[in-house]
Symmetry: D3
Subunit: 321 residues, 6 copies
């Protein structure tokens, strides 16, 4: 069998060709795919700056530089997985609650094909319906959640559905296994000093940003892998977990965040887990004049692809030998 | 009685001081005011680029240059009207339909004080609840609607409430007097060649952009004034009526639009009408790097203030004598 | 037969879906098409600011707002023509002379299908190989060339191929019919007072920008149509013909240019001619922070589509009746 | 004698070479020059947005596209005038009053060489010391002042020296001939309806922007030339006279301004006058992301050069014949 | 007693409401306040890029995300301190020396109320008059000065007052206790190799950036606290102390600076000192297109508030337990 | 003998004066110089985003802040070296292969004067002709190559000359001594897992970015110095070696890169080597809205000057004592 390959720079200049993720072939459904890239152009769940509706479009554009092999880890995802870009979920951009339903149905469809979706966000509200679909297939999943914010509010402005509430909703609905939830990078200001306590009370592991400063997160990831074992695991990556120096183009910015090297350690540290899906959310192109935040997002999604089960590593760490 | 005055540049540098509209005093309600500036930071009704939630904030910032007297027309609005900035309507940014209710209630409150509101938008969805409040007080109002788009869709993506539907809703609800509705500047592409026919069938007067090219609109405004007479009239000004050369920072851009000189002719041409309120919508600051679209919006709102009933003109056209 | 339609905003939000021109279906060749959109991501022929290699990508993105019907003219291009986006020409971005050959071959292929290509540029060098392909099929074509510059240098920096030389090359190679060449919008500074004389000596009609100021160009277009008659005609539109107020994002900016209303008059004034192809060149996205220059380009390409032979006008000027 | 020539694009790419005005040779003084370009990097006289200190630098950069001959008018300034860039005046950027003295001394030096200075601003405060130097040499000069603002305040924040006061100071000091002062493009808002009356009371001719809308200014310039005759005349051009569509990058923006075609008519309409100097002020690069406002400034300064006494016109209107 | 609280996101969307610091109530004087935020919109003391006059305005705007509790440290500043935004100091923007006097008088007024001011700059010149006011109340204060530059020039361009001289002036005037002055983050290029020696000769402790690279500054802060003891201490924080990766929007950029994590360690490390006031200077919004430098400034000012004497810490490091 | 000095900020404001590197004197050739700054405005060798043609111009502009002495290291380059800016190489911007020849000839000329050139790029293609000139004078040179990419492709799009091939070409031509080549910072994605193996097979030392994360590179530089000894050494610094947090404005961005502190360690760690020339490439101003990437480039070029043989260090690490 031959696998889809990203369009190469010697066939078409990188600044041209189809504006799909990594210039991969596109198809309408997930049929026949081991993994897919899918966009959710959502920003009506955001509480501060908007613009994440443009996230999928610009992540795809800036993914044009990505070549097939990972020089840092030796991963060769396109040697053993069938991957395509299946386009965007057709949201109702005027009604957040209806959009959440549309997303859940779309992911039911993707999962029916035994495909692992990697999602280009969009605001973080989208993870709630994804987790609902995941739980229907896998039962409550383990969760690695990298973010500046816990996103566990009960309500925002009286609403149950918003980009600050998805993980409370997901727990209430039995979508996540509380003792296998890891929230990394939390920080900033809160409505009460107990803002992160609800997470801990549910059994989540909270790793505040301050605990990450100026050190490698590789040991943390080893611990997390040990605790999760072979449980199906979802990886939700909010770009605002990064310090704004590394990801300026987002809507609810908090200073003192993770570095890009830590982000790579986290995702690469997920290798060996049964990652059933992942997302990269909250890229807001209007606040990203150089395009580099979208580019960071595209790279992190590629790194997620590289640690999916079944990816071959023909040559460990080829860049590093 | 003494009237509120904008904070002057000889008391506080223009780039400083309170970030209210024209650096006017702020107050919480419309009590005691002849006219007020009020913000509606809405963008969840937009169908293309978002960002209009930041409109009120940046219109206020760029209004800091405005001095009290209109050199082009001689208007002296602060000599005879009590005006203040009453802040923003506290929208539910996660639910468009609820926000529409919140807006209507807020304007019921403003109108209870016999105050004429000038609204800093925000996307055009906001005009529907404003017109509902207006009709409760005034009956169906005359409408001067300046826009690239007719905003008379029955539905968008199956929704009745969105920034492309308000005037159909307003007519259905008896908020506007169809034979006294004037839509100026319409253009662009449509879903069918009949897109503007619905307006005409209701009795609206449609003035496409092509009919405005390269000529003065002063004669048109004379006609409109004659047709409206002393009927209570609402003025809804969408910044995208202007050609993008004059107002780049908006979300649903159409080329071939009105000029800024025509915009001034239109608003100044409303003098003599019983303008009961007005709005300036669809300024999207993330697409306005120089700030000048917000500045245009601030100026047009000031020009609206200048043509409200009761404004003194101590010296006609002082700049022009 | 059913014709391809642009993906509508009620099926997929406008900021999502495939990043093809007008969100039309894409296909690899021009087979079966009456007209096609094709990108040429060229900027190594530019003499001042670069960046036009990104032109096709951003023109496509900003075309997402375009609906099928032209409200200004009544054109219904998708009612009678089969149209698709056939992607980009795979240039050799390191060698301009080889790229020119690649382009010519690509257009030979398109024209073999009797398809009328509308090209998303890219710098103006690209028109030379297109005209070579055109002439092989049609003989020397009539040319309507809208531009700030005559692009008739013999050499630039000693080179025969560059973005300032294509029309001299095209004439030398017998691609254009000199007495049916119209250059509109020329202006600026030159290397000698005779810079435009070469054009006139060949029999071209030169219409400097100064002759266009503050007037309608509809009469000029009537004259041009009369002179061209039913001769096959190519339309080459350089975005820098527009004054930079209307099209800031380009590389060789000249002040005092055409207005957007004149641009629409010119293209709409081509209706009735046997337009065999057209291009929109020199959009440079890095100098277009709002995206509006790309949006202007997308609209002008749509207007070109609307005046191709065979387009139905079910309702003349529906916006204007 | 051979004259300095701008460095041509066939000798050095336009985006390279010395960053002098038009890539002309530079020299330290005005000795031997008929005309010079000189920068005054001043912004501590501005009352709203700053940034004009960067004006000279960015005007020079964007002047790199200018070729020697004026295709619109036939002017050949480098065929008969010796011109160079003499660099910047070394301001004291911490003290406005001292900077004004430094400027005056610098212009005394330039005028001692019988050189006509064309100044790259810088905020408008700079015209006061220039006019003082002019009057010492020529007596009270005629003045053509193109601007959105009259700049005739008595004081700003209690200060006599600021960018809103220079023409009152200049009149008080006998630098300008009141009956030969023409202020074109005034508009906006004022501190009293009488704001422009002071000008009229002195005998200035005030031409508000509203009187310029949608018409050619060529007749106005004929009148002005008739009134001035052969009196030594200074031309002060504030970029904010232009509508912000044409010149977004400035600090005290007023809507409803002049067009670029009118700007060209005004400057070209000065041909025949004894222009003894000119300036282009208030370009603020931080508010000019595309660079085009600086480019407009560079072009207008070039047009000023073209109408200096002694410029040859070997071929009238070569573009237009 | 009840304390002022920041307006919450569940009462008014974060992108709306009053544009005060943290959306706190505003009042005209410091009466009754334990601490205040105050703006000094100064940029006429800058030697390179201007724009800091816009600093207070944009810091306030980007402070809208800040919630009351510090999740990193457990600080609850609004549980025990009365805080408000008292607006901007009405500078004379045309005269730096007069502005310095105005600032000093304004701070005399603030300190008369026993209020601790936290200043939103503005260029660094402003610290000199603040320190003069501080010394009148407290005697020579200890100083923690975080900056890329020592700001101890005797003169700049012959001037005693500029943004590179304030700490020399302050020492000369007896405002600071030399043996309790700590300058952290100094680096870059100098006029002589002895540029930092003057500081050391006075008894200041100089900590160059190179000594901070790749390590925690918590130990340094412990040393500093030990040396200062309970002496009244002023904290002056120049945003350019940060590497430009973390704070791009400033005027005199030096590479190789501090990290944001170190910035937080420094300010949090001031807890326990008798901080009598602080400032955050040199944010230049025109060079900050994403707004994130202003946002960093807003956060650092909030962190300063959190370490003022009297702030309650109900729950130490709630994020970190 | 007296040496050229950068124009100081007390003689001319930093935002003014000649736009040469560090505001040094300019001259046409390298005659009499120990070192020179020279620009190569090349971007037609780039494979992704263009814009590096503007690199030299903007690096010079942002170099205006640089003072003569290095406070971090004590270097006093202008005390013992004669340095000037010799302008730009007059490239043929329409033909990459011809430009490569022009560059080689230009550097032959520079080296004929025994001058050490420090090059302002420009895309990385330029290093191939420079190395050819170097080898003619010095034989195969040692090479310290700091970059995200190995730039050792055999071909790109079938071309031997492009910005991804120079070091393979240089080795083939005997310009570099393979056992003395050090490639630092390599990372990202590749066309095969063996992409970096070619380098190793030639004997190059490859130091991938992952091996640099979160540690000092001072030990690495000691090793490199030991291996190179007194061999003539060229230093090629691609700005994209830095993580995009530190250098956003470049064309082929890879995440997970070096820090600015490491960049300084690398260059300062070259002190003691016989550095015969150096370059700073791939700054792309259109993607650098704040100007800070150009500023980083200017600083790194200055640091290169500081470690050239013959530079005096009158006071070791004056900032750090």
């Amino acid at each position: 069998m031959s696998f889809n390959q990203p369009l190469g720079g010697n066939e078409m200049p990188r600044f041209a060709g189809p504006a799909t993720m990594m210039r991969l072939p596109s198809q309408e459904t997930a049929e026949g795919l081991d993994a897919c890239f899918v966009g959710i152009p959502l920003d009506i769940g955001t509480s501060n700056r908007s613009g994440t509706r443009q996230g999928p479009r610009y992540i795809r554009i800036e993914s044009c530089m990505l070549r097939p092999y990972n020089m840092g880890t030796g991963a060769a995802p396109f040697d053993s997985l069938q991957v395509a870009d299946i386009g965007d979920v057709p949201l109702n951009t005027f009604d957040l609650k209806k959009s959440v339903v549309i997303i859940e149905e779309a992911y039911d469809g993707i999962l029916a094909h035994d495909c692992r979706p990697l999602t280009l966000g969009g605001d973080h509200t989208l993870v709630y319906p994804i987790l609902k679909a995941m739980a229907k297939k896998h039962g409550p999943v383990a969760l690695i959640h990298v973010d500046a914010h816990a996103d566990i509010n009960d309500e925002m402005f009286g609403e149950k559905i918003a980009h600050g509430t998805p993980f409370r909703r997901a727990l209430e609905d039995g979508c996540i296994a509380a003792d296998k939830v890891f929230q990394i990078g939390l920080r900033g200001t809160g409505y009460s000093p107990e803002d992160f306590d609800w997470s801990r009370q549910q059994g989540f592991t909270v790793v505040p940003a301050e605990d990450c400063w100026m050190k490698s997160l590789t040991p943390l990831m080893a611990e997390i892998r040990a605790k999760i074992g072979d449980h199906p695991t979802y990886l939700s990556y909010d770009i605002d977990s990064l310090d704004p120096a590394f990801a300026p183009g987002t809507g609810t910015v908090e200073i003192g965040g993770l570095t890009i090297w830590q982000a790579l350690e986290i995702i690469r540290g997920c290798r060996g887990l049964d990652i059933v899906g992942g997302d990269l959310v909250e890229v807001s192109p209007p606040y990203d004049p150089s395009g580099n935040t979208a580019l960071v997002g595209a790279n992190l999604l590629y790194e997620m692809l590289c640690i999916l089960p079944g990816v071959r590593y023909p040559d460990e760490a080829p860049g590093n030998k």
